[in-house]
Each structure stands twice: as C-alpha cells, then as structure tokens.
C-alpha cells in the first residue's frame, strides 16, 4: 500500500482504477452542481465532488490533506452552506429563463475554449516531464511528520498569519450576522397576554401524544376526558388517515368493550 502511495512515475494500476472510476463521477457531480435546479441538490453534489477529491489525495500520497478535506471542507464548510440555505430558504430556486442575452451561449463557448486551451497547454508542456514521486521527500517519516516539519519551520509565518485570518473571519461573521433589536424583546408575560387576547387559542398546554391512549407513539392521538380524540395532540404533518384509523380502532375497542 505504501509502495503505491509513495510510487510516482507512471501510476500503478490500482491508482488508475481509482482514477478512472472517480474522475467521471467527479465531473458528473460538478456538472450536476452547475445545472441543478434546487440549491440543496447542488450542495449535495458538491459534497460528492469533494469526497472524490479526498480519494484522489489519498491516491497521491497526501493522506493528511485527504483527511483535512473531509473534515474541514466537506464537514464544516459545506455544512455551513447547508445551514445558510436553510436560513435563506430552500425553495429559493432559480428560474430557468436566462435574463442576459447570449450569456449562456457565450459562457459555454468560452468555458469550452478555456478548457481546451488549458489541456492542450498542459499536454504540450508535460509530454516529457518525468514525475519524481514523494519517496524522497517523505521517506520513512511519513506524510504528516514531513508536513509538520515544513509547516512549522519554513512556513511558520504564513501559519500564524492564517490563524489571525481565522480569528478575524470569526469576528467578522459575528458582526455581519448580528441583528440589532429595534424593539425590546417580548417577554413571556407579553407573549402570554397576546395569546390570551387573541382568543380562540387553547390556554392550557397541549396534551402530549399518547396520553390516555393505549399506545405512546407519536402519531397516536391523546384522548380527551370525554373519550374523544384530541386532534391537536398530534403534529400537523402526521395528521393523516392514521389518526382517524386509530380513533376508529379505539372506538371499535370501546364499543367492543362496552
């Protein structure tokens, strides 16, 4: 395994297999990200791409980066995206109509040209390049130790600077997301008064589900003292036929019993 990891030159077959399976998946995921209608779908597809990239890092003798990719990037950054999507609204979908004339055509054309250009340039330059592999750089120390040695000796200043950057970013997020209260916070007393004056609302706390019922599942409604079903005890989205069937079953049992 480490032989595969440390070998460079032309990649061994295992690596080729990994590449040729995951590369199309990454590309399709990227395309899906770009063309997905719902933003949440796009986020999930981005997660797919990032995970396949983590696999690539592993194949290329960069296990530390692979783990960081999964933990930081996919785990933290992408989840942050999802949280914001939640706050902004998951149904804020783009309409498919393009408002700028010719943007799609021109964009596709130029992007294609750019890709072709890059690939041709790379192919032309790298034709005779012999890749060295990381055996010399890492050797017996292992990837993490080697990175640590570099990070805390040569690049320690950049390291400290990025830590300052992270602190600043945190502060910035707090400042930006802060909402000044324009009115004082409604106290519990005020909310209660409001609720009472609104009228028509039940003043007593809602019964929990399953009280006085023969099951304590979430979708089992509670029974009121007179034996009728308290519909408000079951969450709305569960108020499907089940409630009624359960109520019917209870009625039948009661009838059977009585």
């Amino acid at each position: 395994m480490s032989a595969m990891l440390l070998a460079a030159g032309s990649a061994p077959t295992h690596e080729a297999v990994v590449f040729w399976i995951l590369a199309p998946i990454a590309v399709i995921g990227a395309l899906g990200l770009v063309f997905a209608r719902s933003a949440v779908h796009a986020a999930v597809l981005l997660a797919l791409v990032m995970l396949s990239l983590a696999a690539f890092y592993t194949a290329e003798a960069a296990p530390f980066l692979a783990v960081v990719q999964v933990v930081v990037y996919t785990g933290a950054v992408l989840m942050l995206f999802l949280f914001v999507l939640m706050l902004v609204g998951v149904d804020s979908a783009d309409s498919l109509v393009e408002t700028l004339r010719g943007q799609r055509v021109a964009g596709a054309f130029i992007a294609l040209g750019f890709a072709v250009l890059l690939i041709v340039a790379l192919a032309g330059t790298l034709g005779s390049f012999h890749s060295h592999g990381l055996a010399g750089a890492q050797g017996e120390k292992g990837n993490v130790v080697a990175i640590a040695e570099l990070l805390f000796s040569r690049y320690v200043f950049a390291f400290e600077a990025t830590s300052a950057l992270l602190i600043t970013a945190g502060l910035g997020a707090m400042v930006l997301a802060h909402r000044e209260r324009t009115a004082p916070r409604r106290t519990q007393r005020e909310r209660m008064l409001e609720r009472v004056q609104r009228g028509g609302a039940a003043l007593a706390p809602l019964p929990g589900p399953g009280v006085y019922a023969d099951h304590d599942a979430v979708d089992t409604p509670a029974l009121l003292p007179d034996g009728s079903v308290a519909l408000t005890s079951v969450p709305e989205y569960l108020q499907i036929a089940r409630v009624d069937t359960r109520a019917d079953a209870v009625d039948r049992e009661l009838e059977a019993g009585a």
Binding site: L100, A106, I110, A111
Partner: protein
C-alpha cells in the same frame, strides 16, 4: 543710351546740422493725427486748427531743408538720417532711416505745400460736417504716410508709407460712413490697390533674395551686376505696384469711384500726391529700369495706353469730378510715359508731376467750390452760366484749365510739350508712336477740358429749382488763388535755365538734351498748339453752339457709349475676376461646409454612435463582467501559449 545714369555712389552723407530735423517732417503730422483720432470729440473745437498747423509746420521744415540742400555742393546732396535699427534678423537688416535728397525734397515741398493749402480749404469746405475733426485727423495721417513714403531710404520702409497712404485713402473715400456707395468705392479702391501692393511686396522679396538687402544704396549699387532676368522681373513687379497706386491700366478702375469722397480728398490724394506715388517709385528705382530695357518699354506702353484711355473716358462723363479724375488718370499716363523713356527724361516726368499737382489740385478745389455753391450737385448738365455768379472760382479754375491744355507760357505748356518732344526724340518706331499718341492725347485733353468749362461756366443756366449758387468764402478761395498762380507760373520757373533738371541730377541721373531732334522744337510747339486749338474748337462746335440738354442723350456713337462705361473696365474686371472668384468662393464654402465639416461632423457622429453602442456592454450585471473576465483569461493564456510556441 546716350547718357550716364549713375547715382552718385556712394554719396549718402549722414545727417548733420539742420538735417537732423528730417524725421520731424513725418513725426509732426503723425502726432497730430494721433491726437486728433485718439482724442475723440474732446478735440472737436480746435481739431481743424491743429490739423492745419501740422502740414504747415512740416512745410516750413521742408523749406529749411530744401534751402540747406541748395546750399550744399551738388555732389553732396544725398543726406541720410539713420533713426534706429528696425529689423535686425540675421542677414536681413532693415533700419528706419530718412533719405533727403533732391527728389525727395521736391516731393516733400509738393506734399506739404499743396497739402497745407488744401487743409486750409477744408476748414471752409467741411465747416458744416460734424466729423470735421476726424477728417483732419485722417488727412494728417495721409500726409504723414506720404512723407514717410518719399523719405524712406529702403524699400521696406517705403512699403510702410505705401500701405499707410492706401489706408488713409480707404478711410477718406469712405469718410461719409452713412453712404453705401462711398463704402463700396473705398473697398474697391483698397482691393485694386492690393493687387498692386502684391507686386511691390514680391519685388521687395525678390530684391532681398537677389541683393541680400532692400535699402536703396545696396539695391541700386549692385543692380547692374545682377542677372538681367531677375532685374527685369523686379522692374515689372514694381511697375505693377505703381499701376495700382497711380491708377494706370490695368488697375485703373478704382479712381473714378474714388470721387465718392469729399472733394479736398480728391484734390489732395487722388490728384496731387498719392496717385503720383507710383511715378515716384519708378523714378526712384530708375537704376533698375536703366538695366532692364524690357521693363522700361512696358512702363512706356502702360503710360501711353492709360493716357489715351483716360482722355477718351473724360470726354463722355457728365460728373465734373469724374471728368477731372479721368483727366488725372490721363496726365499720370503722361508722367509714366516720361519716366519710361529712359535716362535723361526722368526729370521731365517729375516736372510734369509738379505742375500737375498745382493745376489739378487747383481745378479740384474749384470743382468743390462749384459743388459747394450748387448744393453738392455734381452733374454738369445741371450747371451752366456760373461765370457771372462765381467769378473767383471761374478765374482760378480758368488758370488751371489753361495750364492743363498747355496754353503757351503756362506750366502745362512747358511740362507737357517737353514730354512730347522727349518721346519723339527717342527715335525709331518707338519714338514716333509714343510721340504721336502723346500729341493726340493733348488734343483730347483740350477737348474734354473745354467741354467741361463750357458746360459749367458758360451757356444757359440749367440749375435745379432750389439751387442758389454763390461764391465760396475766402477760406476756400484763397488756397484756390494761390494754386492758380502756381498753375500759371510754376512750370516756367522750374524750367528756367534747366534748374529742376540740374537739381534732380543726383537722384535721377543726368538729364540730357539730345543733339539732333526728330522734329525741330519750334515746329513741334507749333504743331502742338494747332492740335490743342483743334481740340478747343471741336469742343466749341459740339457743345457750345446748341443749348446743353439736361437729360443725357442716348443716341450716341459706340465710342461715347463705351466711354460712358469707363471703356468697359469695370465690366472686364467683373467678368474675368469677380465672377470666377465668387464662384470659387461659393464652391469652397460648399466644400468646406459639406466636405470638411461633413467629414468632421461625420467623424464625431461616428464616435458618438460607436460609443453609444459600445457602452451597452456595461450591463451592470456581475455575471457579464465575470464572462469578460473569463474571456480575458482565455486570451491571456492563448497569448502565453503562442509566445512559448512561437
């Protein structure tokens, strides 16, 4: 050539003693003009007095300098007063210097003497004009410029004076600014003069390239050693300038129209002085004409042609001033003929110039007096029988009349006959043609001047209803009387003992009496008198026997018809120059408006249109900017690739 024509080189003596006053001759009238013109209405009360005092002061100084010159030895009579260096530009050095020598001295006396008399006359003539002060200011300006012209010692300074008199002439012809005809006439005079000025300025430029200098001393000193063709060209260009200023053919059309100005202006500028500037120029530049025979012959021809033209035109006009103007044109033709005859005859031309100054100014002032009494009427068909009513005017005018026709012993007798004699003495076909032309001109002169006298002072009274002719005040008649005396005796005095010719020798070369005359002088004189008598008789026959019709008769000979139209001079100018010029300017305006402006405006519109389209790319959307960024990145990558590969 049977004479020497040499300026006494290098005989320019620097100014000393009383000659340091020379520059005052120009400065005093110039200062007076400045005061009067810039002072404005505040100077109205005493403006005319200052205006008269200035030329009188210059005349006094001129007399002093003249007698000082007489007192000097004949070889020392060219005094040069250097004032200051004007244009020290590399090899082109021009200084403001005054040259007082016999030629310029006689001109100074003529200009300031006759000028002073006309200034005094104007006090009375312009008495009712509210702009009288401005008149005197402009008249003084003229005197200053004319004096500068004759006193300059280099061609560039002469050109300054030349332009100055042109300006003064324009201002004075158009003096009555409310008269549109006067404005048109002033413009015409200026424009035609401009054509002549072009010749003079080209001549000056040619002089500079040929001789390296434009001062008289240098040009005349080396004229004989320069290339003959160049000297001929200079001579022809100078002739062009002279034709413009002296109203000679082909630039004669402005003189008759210039009579729109007040009569004193016509007397001073367009009879006695400015129009003689051309003759002065040619006489002064005689070394050039001595070298180039072709240019000299052309001078003669121009003079002869104009002589006849002026005489024919003068026979047909009814406007008294225009007849006198045509007469001026003709007499200057005589002067040109004289100076074109070559060395030996220059002094004769100058003699005629001086006598003409007297009698023509005299007759113009007389015409002004007649107009003054006849409510400014100029049409002679409305005159008649004024002899009894305006006797002083009649007798002074008669003196001038006798002089111009060449009545024996008057000044014109001496000067004009000498010209005819000198022309015939030239010998060969040239001499015969010119002499006979001059003789015929004398006859025509007698005819039209007699016609003028008869129509104005004799015959039936054809006055308009509200006209009450009266004699003019003495402020006007006194100058006329002085000039009348001059008309009668000046010629004789100047010719006595050949004094003028001898006096002018240092300036214009020796005047030569030819040994063998073509026709004996006595015979010639008799012949001339017969011709003159014939002219007078013809005038009496045609004009005096029947009452003069008040309406101009229309069934006349073709010659009269043409003469009434100035021998189609104006029509020719109009069709050859004016109309093509007008078409050209119209075409150029069209081209400029549509073509040039169109191109510029089209370019501006194109820029505007392009930018209006180009700015639409600024949509404001971040995504289109992102698109252009990506496109740019692609281009840069491609360029790098090509740079690597290529």
């Amino acid at each position: 050539m049977s004479s020497e024509s040499v300026i006494h080189t290098p005989g320019f003596v620097p100014a000393h003693g009383v000659f340091v006053l020379t520059f005052l001759l120009v400065l005093i009238p110039a200062l007076s003009a400045a005061v009067l013109l810039l002072g404005g209405r505040r100077t109205n009360a005493w403006g005319h007095l200052l205006g008269c005092a200035a030329p009188i002061a210059s005349f006094v100084i001129g007399l002093v300098l003249f007698f000082s010159l007489l007192g000097k030895d004949a070889n020392d009579r060219q005094v040069d007063q250097h004032l200051f260096s004007w244009i020290p530009a590399g090899s082109f050095r021009v200084s403001v210097s005054m040259l007082i020598d016999p030629l310029s001295a006689v001109f100074v006396l003529l200009i300031t003497g006759v000028g002073s008399l006309i200034h005094i006359y104007s006090v009375g003539y312009m008495a009712h004009d509210p702009d009288r002060r401005r008149f005197f200011g402009e008249l003084n300006l003229f005197v200053a410029a004319m004096l500068l012209l004759v006193l300059a010692d280099n061609f560039l300074l002469l050109y300054v004076g030349w332009e100055g008199v042109g300006l003064a002439s324009y201002l004075l012809i158009g003096f009555w600014t409310y008269k549109p005809t006067a404005a048109v006439a002033a413009k015409k005079a200026f424009l035609v003069n401009r054509v002549g000025d072009l010749g003079l300025s080209l001549a000056i430029m040619l002089m500079f390239t040929t001789f390296g200098s434009v001062s008289f001393r240098d040009v005349f000193g080396t004229a004989s050693s320069a290339h003959r063709g160049t000297v001929t060209a200079i001579g022809l260009l100078l002739l062009l300038g002279a034709c413009g200023k002296s109203a000679q053919f082909p630039l004669q059309s402005w003189l008759l129209d210039a009579m729109e100005g007040p009569t004193p202006v016509s007397a001073l500028i367009h009879a006695a002085t400015m129009v003689t500037a051309g003759v002065y120029l040619i006489a002064r530049s005689h070394p050039i004409y001595d070298v180039s025979n072709d240019a000299r012959v052309l001078v003669e021809i121009v003079g002869a042609v104009t002589l006849v033209m002026g005489a024919i035109i003068g026979c047909a006009y009814d406007d008294i001033k225009k007849v006198l103007a045509a007469s001026t044109m003709s007499q200057i033709g005589y002067m040109m003929l004289a100076v074109g005859l070559g060395p030996g005859a220059y002094a004769i031309g100058i003699l005629h110039l001086l006598t003409h100054g007297f009698f023509k100014a005299n007759m113009f002032l007389g015409a002004g007096s007649v107009m003054h009494g006849m409510n400014d009427e100029v049409n002679m068909r409305r005159y008649g029988g004024l002899r009894k009513v305006m006797p002083v005017t009649f007798w002074t005018f008669a003196a001038g009349y006798l002089a111009i026709i060449g009545f024996p012993l008057t000044s014109g007798f001496f000067s004009k006959d000498k010209i005819i004699e000198a022309a015939l003495d030239k010998g060969g076909p040239e001499g015969w043609i010119l002499g006979l032309v001059a003789l015929a001109g004398a006859g025509l002169t007698a005819f039209y001047m007699s016609r003028l006298m008869i129509m104005t002072f004799f015959g039936n009274r054809r006055w308009a209803k509200d006209v009450h002719p009266h004699e003019s005040p003495s402020v006007m008649t006194s100058p006329m009387a002085v000039l009348a005396i001059g008309s009668l005796i000046a010629g004789g005095l100047l010719v006595l003992g050949g004094s003028l010719q001898h006096f002018l020798t240092p300036s214009v070369g020796k005047s030569v009496e030819v040994g063998v005359h073509t026709i004996a002088p006595a015979v010639l004189t008799a012949l001339t008198l017969i011709v003159i008598a014939g002219g007078v008789a013809a005038a009496w026959w045609l004009v005096a026997r029947k009452p003069v019709p008040v309406e101009q008769p229309l069934n006349v000979t073709p010659v009269t018809w043409a003469a009434r139209r100035s021998l189609y001079g104006d029509a020719l100018n109009e069709s050859v120059f004016m109309r093509p010029g007008a078409y050209l300017t119209r075409a150029l305006v069209f081209f400029d408006g549509r073509g040039v402006d169109g191109a510029v405006n089209g370019f501006a519109a194109m820029v505007g249109g392009t930018s209006a389209r180009a700015r639409r790319s600024q949509t404001g959307f971040a995504r289109s900017y992102a698109l252009s960024m990506l496109a740019g990145a692609t281009v840069v990558t491609a360029a790098l690739m090509i740079a690597r590969v290529g």
